[in-house]
């Protein structure tokens, strides 16, 4: 049996203090008070309040920051010999040992989705790799389903261990922490948390209860083929996306979206130097595919949303064998017009060839 530890709510700050030893950055959910309050991940500091709620923004920045410097470059003139110009270049990845604390199973599965293209393709991305190798994920399992969540549709669940190093479950009076990977085991072993094996049955019961609270999920096995078959059905995509505003909320709040753009900024030719930045980009923007000639192969928002849905439910599965959606529902909850990816996928699958009056069969 894996290593099990127990911590009371009062013991959490001390545990976080332990996690932040040796220069480790601990990202914890922090509440941002506003009339529309939100929860975002921020580096933990002694005495700073934190929450264990599901965050509005996933902890994707731990491996893929909103903006990072890939290369800094600078030209320096030799004062003795002005015709001699030296070029210096620094491409060390910005990576710091990091623990993500109390993300949810959908966030943790997000890292697994990102790992495939960034690490398992023909080239591993050195920047992503440097951060990923130094990342430890402590996940809090969910106690119930939620109106916009659908993790169990796409192969996950409220207690899924995939992508997590430690799985933490709330029980009466505290939290049971279960090591999932050797990294998690090491982390728990070196901590001063109490042994929790006798509490584990309670955690298992809580996890079962979480699953029991979920609405039945439809079977999405056929989704990749059926969505691919819809590719040329422009009318379908236009009807599904008529209310889309083409903003980037769905992609930027997604734990599995990984597209980026690269920009050279600064003054590369002067002594001030310049840098090459990598920042998030999103396929909802017209600029994403606009070519230098001015031609844009995805001029309509319908084609852009088609790309988003097809990528998550058809082409990514074709390449890597699983959906690139962890069902966190943030694209639904954060969308200004509540565009619902669940209903697009179901409508795309509804081609009238199913047994039950064209409705996709449900699988409990």
């Amino acid at each position: 049996m894996s290593m099990i530890r127990f911590v009371t709510p009062d013991g959490l700050p001390a545990f976080l203090a332990y996690l932040s030893q040796n220069g480790r950055r601990v990202l914890v959910p922090v509440e941002k008070p506003a009339n529309k309050r939100s929860v975002v991940f921020e580096p933990w500091q002694e005495g700073k309040p934190f929450t264990l709620e599901k965050a509005t923004v996933p902890a994707k920045e731990a491996v893929l920051p909103q903006c990072e410097t890939l290369v800094r470059y600078k030209k320096t003139k030799d004062p003795e010999n002005p015709s001699h110009v030296a070029m210096s270049l620094d491409d060390t990845p910005e990576a710091q040992p990091t623990v993500v604390f109390a993300c949810r199973p959908c966030d943790a599965r997000g890292y697994v989705v990102l790992d495939r293209p960034y690490l398992k393709g023909p080239y591993a991305d050195p920047y992503y790799k440097a951060r990923r190798e130094q990342l430890t994920v402590v996940t809090l399992t969910c106690g119930s389903g939620c109106n916009t969540c659908f993790c169990h549709w796409v192969g996950g669940g409220p207690t899924s261990p995939e992508g997590s190093d430690v799985l933490m479950t709330e029980i009466e009076g505290g939290y049971v922490l279960q090591a999932i990977t050797p990294k998690g085991e090491e982390l728990l072993a070196a901590s001063s948390l109490a042994e929790g094996a006798d509490m584990f049955p309670k955690a298992e019961a809580a996890r079962k209860a979480a699953w029991a609270s979920l609405a039945p999920a439809p079977n999405l096995k056929e989704a990749p083929q059926k969505i691919a078959a819809r590719f040329n059905d422009t009318e379908f995509w236009q009807n599904q996306t008529d209310r889309c505003l083409s903003c980037g909320a769905c992609t930027y709040f997604c734990p599995t979206c990984y597209c980026f753009t690269i920009t050279d900024e600064g003054e590369g030719l002067s002594e001030k130097g310049g840098q090459r930045l990598r920042s998030w980009d999103n396929c909802m923007s017209s600029l994403f595919t606009r070519e230098a000639s001015g031609h844009n192969p995805r001029m309509l928002k319908a084609f852009r949303m088609r790309n988003r849905v097809s990528h998550k439910y058809s082409t990514y599965p074709e390449n890597w064998g699983s959906f690139s959606c962890s069902g966190c529902g943030r694209c639904i909850g954060n969308c200004p017009v509540c565009l619902d990816i669940r209903s697009i996928v179901l409508a795309a699958m509804d081609d009238g060839n199913d047994d039950k009056n064209g409705k996709p069969s449900t699988d409990k």
Binding site: F253, P336, V337
Partner: protein, 482 residues
């Protein structure tokens, strides 16, 4: 290395080529002694100066910005400085809401022959900036997070609109539908406590139309994308102002748009409703009464009284009935009293300049630059060609610091000067709840003060104030340099 390194401050001057630049030259030729803090950027006309130049300078470390152009009625291009005067005055009144002291920005008029006056202007302005000292930087203060007080009284009675003539409206739409490409309205969203925009093309679609406090989206945002087509739109009072503003700016044509309206009794602030509901699996049902709604989620009842849970804009709304409509059903709603300062702006009014800077520092930190605010705005018409995306010129860096994010909000707000009807969609759309509406509200207040109570979106024949000028401005007084 400047001789006065450490003693100088950074002042940026934007000077018109035809007058002030010559005036500065005259001062130089006459060997007039001047402070050396000013760094001059020559522009073809003060009308060329986009207020964003000034904000960009101030956010990026300038301690002061001076704009100088030709005297009014003496513009090389006839009217450039008349337009500039309105823009720059609005900007001057806008800056304090960001936490920037308005005295750090000044605009004036100096002709090419006025070497002495130039000397005086530079000396007085530099002196003023030295008295103010180096400008505080957005990155420096500890983030300050404060919440607007939403305990408000409404100018009219708020309700749930369940007695509205929805059935009649549906008939009216169905009758008109054959002539129209589609009619935009609302339908139920993923559960009974959410609505989403509806595009009605068939009579069956019309049956999906709903009316009530969940109709928060502003359907006018879609209208410009239908330009040239015959479309219908169902509006609340606030939405109708967006439609009128679009007509004022020729973004849509009156003969193409058919407006259907019902009197609005207020809409719910879904952010506060969702917070109250918390995490739930399923909405079991929504029950309406005259004063509010009761939402049952996972078997638990939650009561939302309209007077407590309406959107901030609804309390001060003076146009619950559409200001322009082809088909208006029901009785106009009575509004009593004058609108007060909206809650978001009242919060900023209560803060010092330093606190405001700390406030925006704390708020902008969590912006992800998803641009939901921009895309939900019915007056944002550049769409796919926004300056925030432009690479040439490279207006905004891709850096994710609070400065860049606040700069974008400033761009949005200033582009809306005299155009924003205060529908609040930008703020409602923000997934992380940044109270950006306050920036627009401050500009709206400045515009109303400067242009005799002008409010955008009330009359299709009005010219938006920043698209016009008066040779002698009634409320803009030129400042003396003594």
């Amino acid at each position: 290395m400047p001789v006065l390194n450490g003693k100088e401050l950074r002042i940026v001057g934007f000077l018109c080529n035809w007058c002030s630049y010559g005036g500065a030259d005259t001062a130089g030729v006459a060997r007039a002694t001047q402070p050396t803090d000013l760094r001059v950027i020559r522009v073809p006309c003060s009308g060329r100066i986009d207020p964003l130049f000034i904000v960009k300078a101030l956010l990026n470390g300038a301690d002061g910005v001076l704009v100088s152009g030709c005297h009014p009625r003496d513009c090389h291009y006839a009217a450039g400085n008349f337009y500039a005067r309105r823009r720059l005055e609005v900007l001057k009144q806008f800056l304090p809401v960001l936490g920037i002291d308005e005295r750090r920005f000044e605009y004036t008029w100096v002709s090419a022959s006025e070497g002495q006056r130039w000397q005086q202007v530079v000396t007085v302005f530099t002196d003023r900036i030295h008295k103010l000292g180096p400008a505080p930087k957005l990155e420096d203060p500890e983030p300050l997070l404060k919440i607007a007080d939403m305990a408000l009284t409404s100018l009219r009675s708020l309700g749930t609109g369940q007695n509205a003539a929805l059935g009649e409206l549906k008939e009216a739409i169905k009758a008109k539908l054959p002539e129209l490409d589609c009619v935009i309205g609302w339908q139920q969203g993923y559960d009974a406590a959410h609505t989403v925009p509806l595009f009605m093309k068939t009579p069956e679609d019309v049956d999906k139309l709903v009316w009530g406090p969940f109709n928060v989206n502003n359907p006018a945002v879609y209208l410009p994308s239908f330009k040239g087509k015959k479309v219908g739109i169902v509006v609340k009072g606030c939405d109708s102002r967006s439609v009128v503003e679009q007509l004022q700016e020729n973004l849509i044509r009156r003969e193409d748009v058919t407006i259907f309206a019902l009197p609005c009794e207020g809409t719910l602030d879904m952010a506060r409703v969702n917070q109250e509901l918390g995490r739930y699996n399923k909405i079991d049902g929504v029950a309406y009464d005259e004063a509010g709604v009761t939402i049952t989620a996972d078997g638990k009842e939650h009561r939302f009284c309209m007077t407590d849970f309406a959107q901030g804009k609804c309390y001060g709304c003076t146009t619950p009935s559409a200001v322009l409509a082809d088909t208006m059903l029901g009785q106009p709603v009575k509004v009593e009293g004058e609108a007060q300062t909206p809650p978001e702006l009242a919060l900023l009014d209560s803060m010092s300049l330093d606190e405001r800077l700390a406030f925006w520092r704390g708020q902008m930190d969590r912006c992800l630059r998803c641009y939901a605010c921009r895309n939900a705005c019915p007056m944002c018409v550049c769409r796919d060609y926004c300056v925030s995306d432009s690479r040439d010129p490279h207006w905004m860096t891709q850096n994710d610091g609070p400065k860049e994010k606040l700069f974008f909000q400033t761009i949005h707000a200033l582009h809306l000067a005299g155009r924003c009807t205060g529908c609040g969609e930008c703020q409602r759309a923000c997934p992380v709840g940044i109270p950006i509406l306050a920036l627009r509200q401050q500009i709206a207040r400045a515009v109303a003060q400067l242009f005799d109570g002008y409010k955008p979106g009330l009359n299709p024949d009005d010219v938006p104030p920043l698209l016009g000028y008066e040779v002698v401005e009634k409320n803009i007084h030129e400042r003396d340099w003594k």
